[in-house]
Structure formats: C-alpha cells, structure tokens
C-alpha cells in the first residue's frame, strides 16, 4: 500500500485521570487514508486514548505530543479539533433534552461550514443533505425530530453516531467501541457505512474490544493496547489471533516488560 503523509502522529503520550496514569507512553502514526484498529482488554486505556484525542476535559496530559495535520492537537479546544476534521463516535452517546436530532446535526454541520468559509445551511437545504445519509443507515426522518438520543435504544444511539460521521465528513474519525451492544444487522450497517466513507482523504481509528467488527472493516494496522502501552502491532491477521487466544497472554507480556 502506498504510504500517504502522516495525519496523526502521537509520541510518548502519557495521560492521567484523577491522579491515575492510564496511558503510559503511546506512539502511533496514522497516515492519510489508513484504517487503524486499537484493540485491548477492558481497562487497557483504549477509550482514554480516543477521548484524549477528541479533547475530553477530564484527562490530564502528563507528557508526550499529538500532532494532527501539522498542528499541536493537544493545544486545541474540542470544538477546534472538530472544526479541523476530528470526529469521535462516542461509546456512550449523550442524551440532549429539548434539542431535536435535526437541529443538533445542522448546528454541528454549520459550525464546520463556517470554519471552512462555506454558507450555512437552512433547514430545507440541510434536509436534502441529510436524506441520502439517512438512507445509508436505514433511517427515515422520523428519528430526526426526536430529541438527541433521548429514548433511543443502544443500537439507535450508535447508528446516530455513524449518521453524524456521515454528515460531518471528518478527516479523522475515531470510533470508540461503536460495535459494543450492536446486533449483527446493526453491526453490518455500521461497517458498510464506514467502508463507503473510506477514502484517501479520510483516516479511521477504530477502538474495539472484539474482533467481529474487523470481519467487516479490514484495518491496515492493528495495535494491541495493554496496561496503557501498545504492546503489539501488526496486520489484520493480528485481530484474528487475538480472537483465538484472548488477551491474557498480552497482559502477562505487559507485566513482564
């Protein structure tokens, strides 16, 4: 595969939350158009990595750097990262009372359009943009007039994240356990949507506990995270190896190192 330029370069990243060090030195390079998977057992720091990259305020960066498109990512506010093309599909999407899904998504899209110097979309123009994206995830617009994620099932919430991904068209999409809690049909829909969005100008960081999503989305690189460190990296075959052998052998390896 032809190597593009580095979109995201993480070096020696150490991160703590409430005084506990969760990430103990992460090095990671994600090039344009690549799909990387981050796998690892519970508590290994996978979600922390995803959230730190999106700018979650609860985490403290102790050391290291993260460079995104030549900029110091860690110095940017969450909204600045989003406007620069970073997107996090949340593991636990948040319910927002009183704001319809449609209004929320249009506000978000218009924030990005303002940044790019493009005219804002009114509700009617927006509906046209939305229609094709809705079809892709198998929704009609009835989900758009409900408050954001309120009363949504687990699967609906995850689909809603993927819908946002499709509408906002980021350069770097981080999927934080988007597959957890999905039945096989929803999983396939999510995977198909992601595969359609794969392009030389878009990179994915897919955080997952299980290998099954990677049956449908073939990653370029699989990283294995254990106890806050990347203990192994390889091609898509590594995911299958993990599925067969579990994580215990890695945890032992991490303890020894």
């Amino acid at each position: 595969m032809k190597k593009g330029t580095a979109l995201l370069e993480v070096k020696g990243l150490r991160v703590a939350v409430q005084g506990n060090e969760i990430l103990k030195g992460i090095d990671l390079t994600l090039r344009d158009g690549e799909v990387h998977a981050i796998m690892g057992p519970n508590g290994s720091g996978k979600s922390t990595l995803a959230q730190v990259l999106a700018g979650h305020p609860s985490y403290t960066v102790l050391a290291g750097t993260a460079t995104y498109d030549g900029k110091d990512l860690l110095d940017m506010k969450p909204e600045e990262r989003a406007r620069a093309g970073v997107f996090l599909a949340f593991q636990y999407p948040v319910e927002i009372r009183g704001i319809t899904n449609s209004y929320f998504l249009r506000s978000a899209l218009n924030a990005l359009r303002r940044e790019r110097g493009e005219p804002e979309l009114d509700p009617i123009d927006f509906l046209q943009v939305l229609e094709a994206k809705l079809k892709a995830i198998g929704w009609d617009d009835s989900m758009m007039n409900r408050p954001v994620n309120e009363g949504f099932s687990g699967g609906e919430k995850k689909r809603n994240e993927i819908l946002q991904l499709a509408v906002l068209e980021p350069r770097l999409a981080i999927l934080d356990e988007t597959d957890s809690g999905l039945d096989i049909d929803a999983l396939k829909t999510v995977a198909e949507t992601v595969n359609k969005l794969r392009s030389p100008n878009r990179s994915f960081l897919i955080v997952t506990h299980y290998q099954r999503l990677l049956n449908y989305i073939t990653p370029d690189v699989v990283h294995v995270l254990a106890d806050g460190r990347i203990v192994k990296a390889g091609g898509p075959e590594l995911a299958h190896e993990l599925e067969a052998k579990g994580y215990d052998w890695l945890r032992d390896a991490a303890m020894v190192s």
Binding site: E79, A82, F90, V94, I96, F104, A108, P147, Q164, L168
Partner: protein
C-alpha cells in the same frame, strides 16, 4: 397583622358600595370567604406548604384595590401579547374587562361579571366549587373580592377549534387585583385556552388570581398559562382543575416574571379513565423567587397523570417545586409520573424540589424524579466535540431545557411567542 385588617376593611367598603347589588348567593360566598381570610391571615414559613416562600413583601406592603385604568391601552399597545391564532379574546386591564379590546362569543366566552347575572344558575353551580379556601388564605381573599374575570363555557360535544385567549394586563402601581376565572367544559366538549398575565409597565403591584376549570366526562381542555408579570410584581395564583370520567386535561404553565410568584396547581381526577398532563417551566434571573405547589389527586381508578416541571435559574434566583400526588383508596391502576429538573446557571441560584407521594391504593404505578444542578459536562463535551463553541453549547443546552417543556404545547403561535422570549432571555445572559 395590620394588613389583614386593612384588607378586610377595604373589603367592607367595597362590599357596601361598589359590589352591593350582587345576588344574595354571591354575597354569601364573599362574606364566607372574607371571614375565612380573616381567620387564616397570611401564611408564614412555619407552615409546611410555605416552608420556602416568605410572603412578607405582600403581607407588609400596602396595596389598594385597583380602580379602572385611567387610560385604556390601544390594540397596538397589547399587540405583543396577542396570539394571531386566537379565535376569541377577553382582555382585562387592572382587573377590569375591556369590551373594546375583546372579542367575546355570546354568553359562552364572556366576562364573569356579565354572566353572573345572565347565566346565574350555571355560574352558581361551579363558582367556588373547585378552588378550596379552607386552608388557602389567598384563594379566600380572591373569593371575597370576586367580581370579574374570564368565563368560558363549552356546551356538550361542542368543539371550539381556535384557541381562546384570556389576557390580564397590569398598568397600575401599589394596587391589587383579584381576577377570577371560570372554565366549564360540558361532556365531550373540547377547547384550547391561553391565559396570560402581563404588564404594560414596570410597577410594583400584586395579582391574586384564581382559575377554576371543570372538564366534564370525555371532555378535553388544553389550558396554557403564561405568567410574564413585571419583574417587580407579586403574583399569587391558584389553578384548580376537576375532571370527569375519560376526560383529558393538558395544563401547561410558564413563569417568567414577578419578583415573587407563587402558583398553586390542584388537579382532581374525579372520574375513572382520566388523563392529566401538567407541564411547567420557570425561567428566573436576578433575585426572582418562584414557588410552584402542585397537588394531583387521583380520586378515581384507571387515571394517568404525567407531570413535567423544568426550572432554569440564573443569578441569585430561587425556584421551589412541590409535587404532591395523592392516590386515594380504590384508585387502582393509577399511573402517575412526576419529574422536576432544575438547571442552575449560577452558583448563587438555588432550587428546592420536593416530591410528596401519598399512596393509599396497592395496584398503582407512581414514579418521581428530580434533579438540581449545573449543565451536564458530558453534554457540553458532546456538543463541543461536534464543533459547537462552548458558549453556544451552553446556550443550546439551556434552550433545550426550556424547549422540552414548550414543545409539548399544541398552540403553535403561543409556542413561537414563548420560544422568542426564551431566546431573548438567553441572549441577555
């Protein structure tokens, strides 16, 4: 208690002069009520129902009974308050009915003073039947001074398609008005009503209102109440509903105004199969204090009630919510749900939320929940992670808190009017 004596004195003067020609039954009603008020006096904070609210500014203030306005506002003056959808309209200024600004409908949408003589039997049957005065000094005082207000009567099976607007405007200062409203829907009747209290000035005045609503068997009423008094006004009110079998009452209430506002909402579900929605919003800033005291009385079986109250409190404001739900013996299959969420936009804002469930039946479903706190940091991050600025995210979340309540209202032009007020308030903060 000098002020109690003063009010009683002002009643005596009024009763022997301006109100002397009332029918006997009405005089008796008033006499009984003033005696009750005299016995009760003003409530104090040692009483459970008034734990969080001091009425000292009212009890120690001096308010003369309002006189007819020196200058009657023009239609242009009141336009900001009007709903273009409204089919019929009753306008009161300082408590006095204004025929020139109103569009009544025969004797069915009329001033109470008019129908007290023209539809005496009907009024007598309902007036004072629902709103308790036994332990309610303010309602007793209102009943003593009952003279005018809005009257809405919807005959059996009739449906009034367009909303009816009841508008109470204050222009005076140092005065008290006692608006008294009566809404009667006969069996299977249907109507939507919007009751608005507003001010044309910035004066210190006191509104002491009572509204009684009776929904007959199978009737449906969508009742909206908007309190946007002067920020220096005192507003005390009671809204009491009474429901027959299989009836629906949707009661929406919004409180924006007043230095001190107390609203007692009582709902009696007297017949089986009734549905009730109490949907309320209070949006306060500065040193405003608003107290909502709700009582839902499940007196019959197979009724459902849903209560949603959201408070948005900025600066040093204080919001009080009490949600009492009584399920009487035999009111089986009651389904009752109550939520009260309070958003504190400032560290000096304060909210008190107390559910009071009294359940005397065993086969019922009753849930309640309340929250008091600042904006959810998870929601803030969620919005920011989508490119929305922190400032805009705060505004959006706060707006959503209010919009959740407004969204349940069926009258589109009212929703738009209130939405604009909410957006205006948020733009200031």
């Amino acid at each position: 208690m000098a002020h109690v004596e003063q009010l009683v004195g002002s009643y005596r003067a009024w009763a022997s002069n301006g109100a002397a020609q009332a029918p006997t039954w009405l005089k008796d009603l008033r006499e009984g009520a003033i005696a009750r008020f005299h016995d009760l006096g003003f409530p104090n904070m040692k009483q459970e129902a008034w734990r969080f609210t001091s009425v000292a500014p009212i009890a120690e203030g001096s308010f003369a009974l309002a006189k007819p306005p020196a200058r009657i506002p023009t239609l242009e003056d009141i336009r900001p308050f009007l709903l273009f959808e409204a089919g019929y309209r009753l306008v009161f200024v300082d408590g006095f009915f204004q025929p020139a600004l109103s569009t009544p409908f025969f004797d069915d949408v009329q001033s109470l003073a008019h129908v007290v003589t023209h539809r005496q039997d009907l009024v007598r049957q309902h007036l004072g039947t629902y709103a308790a005065t036994l332990d309610r000094p303010f309602s007793a005082l209102n009943t003593a001074f009952v003279s005018d207000g809005a009257f809405v009567h919807v005959p059996a099976k009739a449906r009034i398609a367009e909303p009816i607007q009841l508008l109470f405007l204050a222009t005076g200062a140092k005065v008290v008005t006692h608006p008294r409203n009566l809404v009667v829907l006969e069996r299977e009747a249907r109507a939507a009503i919007v009751e608005t209290y507003a001010s044309l000035g910035e004066g210190v005045y006191w509104t002491n209102a009572v509204t009684e609503i009776s929904a007959g068997d199978g009737a449906r009423v969508d009742f909206h109440r908007v309190q946007r008094e002067s920020p220096r006004a005192y507003h005390v009110a009671a809204t009491q509903t009474h429901q027959g079998r299989d009836s629906t009452v949707n009661l929406h209430t919004v409180a924006f105004g007043g230095a001190l506002a107390r609203h007692d909402i009582g709902a009696v579900m007297a017949g089986p199969g009734g549905t009730l929605i109490l949907n309320g919003l209070y949006l306060l800033a500065g040193t405003q204090h608003a107290d909502h005291h709700t009582t839902i009385d499940h007196a019959a079986d197979h009724c459902e009630s849903h209560e949603y109250f959201n408070g948005v409190l900025d600066d040093k404001s204080r919001g009080v919510f009490t949600g009492r739900i009584i399920v009487r013996p035999g009111a089986q299959k009651t389904d009752s749900k109550q939520t009260n969420n309070n958003l504190l936009l400032s560290p000096d804002a304060h909210a008190d939320s107390q559910p009071q469930l009294e359940i005397y039946a065993d086969d019922v479903k009753c849930t309640h929940g309340s929250t008091v706190g600042p904006l959810d940091p998870r929601a803030l991050f969620y919005l920011r992670s989508r490119g929305v600025s922190e400032h805009e995210a705060r505004r959006l979340l706060t707006y959503g808190f209010a919009a959740e309540i407004l969204g349940r209202m069926g009258v589109a032009s009212l929703r738009a009017q209130l939405d604009a007020i909410v957006r205006g308030r948020l733009a200031e903060s």
